[in-house]
């Protein structure tokens, strides 16, 4: 074999082996079985990133509909799971709005709201704003249409004020 072929082969193999080692240290699989699992995850993530770069990233419509069904039946945990899988890169404002809204509906209580869920909801609302500042939902089932309204609801829910002890508060409805 000519020396230049050996040199070319050497460079290619060195690069491949080098990238494999870098990947191993980045992915840190715990055993040999996990190597294939992590490799699959990496390929999927790379493919998604590729679609973002070339501008063909789309939300998985089937998973989004599954999430919406679960959302309407108040199965918020399943809904969030489906929404997250539908939009793994969390770039779609509509999907992120539903995720934030699910925290509101799940955390809402007539006596008191769940602070943990409301805090998470507040974070998710910020994601909606980051994805689309002028987002407005067209879902008639939702009483709050914009991230600003949702954010306000979360912030009010997290505050402890005198109005929290108002007995009429028990009559308020979930939006």
């Amino acid at each position: 074999m000519k020396e230049k072929y050996i040199q070319s082969l050497g460079i290619i193999l060195t690069l491949l082996y080098g990238f494999f080692i870098l990947w191993l240290y980045w992915a840190a699989p715990k055993n040999l079985a996990e190597v294939s699992t992590k490799a699959k995850e990496t390929i999927e993530n790379t493919a998604t990133q590729g679609t973002i770069i070339i501008g063909t990233y789309e939300v998985d419509a089937a998973l989004f509909n599954d999430g919406l069904k679960a959302f309407r039946t108040d199965n918020f945990v399943a809904a969030r799971d489906a929404f997250l899988r539908a939009d793994p890169e969390r770039r779609d404002a509509k999907t992120q709005f539903y995720i934030a809204y699910s925290y509101y509906r799940q955390g809402f209580g007539k006596l008191y709201s769940d602070d943990e869920l409301f805090k998470k909801g507040l974070e998710e609302t910020n994601r909606v704003t980051a994805a689309d500042k002028n987002f407005k939902s067209d879902d008639a089932d939702l009483k709050m249409k914009t991230p600003a309204e949702l954010k306000n609801e979360f912030e009010e829910g997290l505050k402890v004020t005198v109005s929290d002890f108002n007995p009429f508060k028990l009559t308020r409805e979930r939006k």
Partner: protein, 274 residues
């Protein structure tokens, strides 16, 4: 019936596959062209072929030997990259799970100092590795080998230095002191390799024999550990020693051996002798 000239051409065609000889020309034994007898002509042609066959080994010996290239561009990068892979690998004491320990910044600094040492001790001759006379491909291939050498050096330090706590700083200081002194010492390649072998061997003994034996094995609870191995638990806590499986020592033993083997095989120059 073929003429004498045609037969000669035929014989020449048979030996034509031989590569071009750029050495001295060996004169073929006298060809008796004035032979009239056909039998003699055949013998003469056979003689020519036989002599051409005799020349064959000479010609092959002058062909470029691929073995050094295979060693330099395939075997050595493989060895150094394997060292890079294994140097940061540890096994968890509980379930033998892989832990990929990334090198500390100190390992990169030490590796850089080691590279300077390699140049100073002529283990690597810069002008023999990179030159305008070489093709771009050769310079690139040499560069790739150099990068693998640097990565392997960093990972050897990662393998031999304790992961954290006081032992890390003590051994890191010892390494730095030795390397710094070596930078200003007169070294030849042989002495450098001996020195590195001794340095890495000692560090291996300290980490994987002494410190590893001071580390308490993983126990179900802290209290149980105290009762079962009070001294080891105390040392583990005091020196902040991580608990790794015994297999880690075996992996790192071969890492150091591979690294030293790679250094031993490393050519100081890629220039072919004229």
């Amino acid at each position: 019936m073929k003429t004498e000239v045609e037969k000669e051409h035929g014989a020449a065609a048979e030996v034509d596959f031989l590569a071009v000889v750029d050495g001295e020309l060996v004169e073929i034994s006298p060809v008796e062209i004035d032979l009239a007898d056909e039998e003699q002509t055949k013998v003469s042609a056979k003689n020519k072929i036989a002599k051409a066959e005799d020349r064959k080994p000479k010609t092959t010996a002058q062909k470029p030997n691929p073995q050094p290239a295979i060693r330099n561009y395939l075997l050595l990068p493989f060895i150094f990259l394997t060292v890079t892979l294994l140097g940061g690998m540890r096994l968890d004491s509980k379930d033998d799970a892989f832990i990929f320990w990334r090198p500390a910044l100190f390992c990169l600094i030490s590796a850089a100092i080691l590279m300077v040492l390699f140049f100073r001790a002529r283990l690597i001759r810069f002008e023999g590795w990179f030159s305008e006379d070489f093709s771009t491909l050769k310079n690139l291939a040499n560069g790739a080998l150099f990068v693998t050498l640097f990565a392997a050096s960093a990972q050897v330090f990662n393998a031999l230095l304790p992961e954290q706590g006081l032992p890390f700083w003590v051994l890191a200081f010892c390494f730095f002191w030795t390397l710094w002194n070596n930078l200003f010492a007169d070294f030849d390649t042989k002495k450098l390799l001996k020195s590195l072998g001794a340095l890495f061997g000692l560090a291996f003994v300290v980490k994987y024999l002494i410190l590893a034996n001071l580390t308490a094995p993983a126990s179900e609870s802290w209290l149980q550990g105290i009762f079962q191995n009070p001294t080891k638990e105390a040392f583990t806590w005091l020196f902040d020693l991580p608990r790794f499986s015994a297999g880690t020592g075996y992996i790192q033993f071969f890492t150091v051996i591979f690294y030293l083997l790679g250094l031993f095989l490393l050519p100081n120059s890629f220039k072919t002798k004229a």
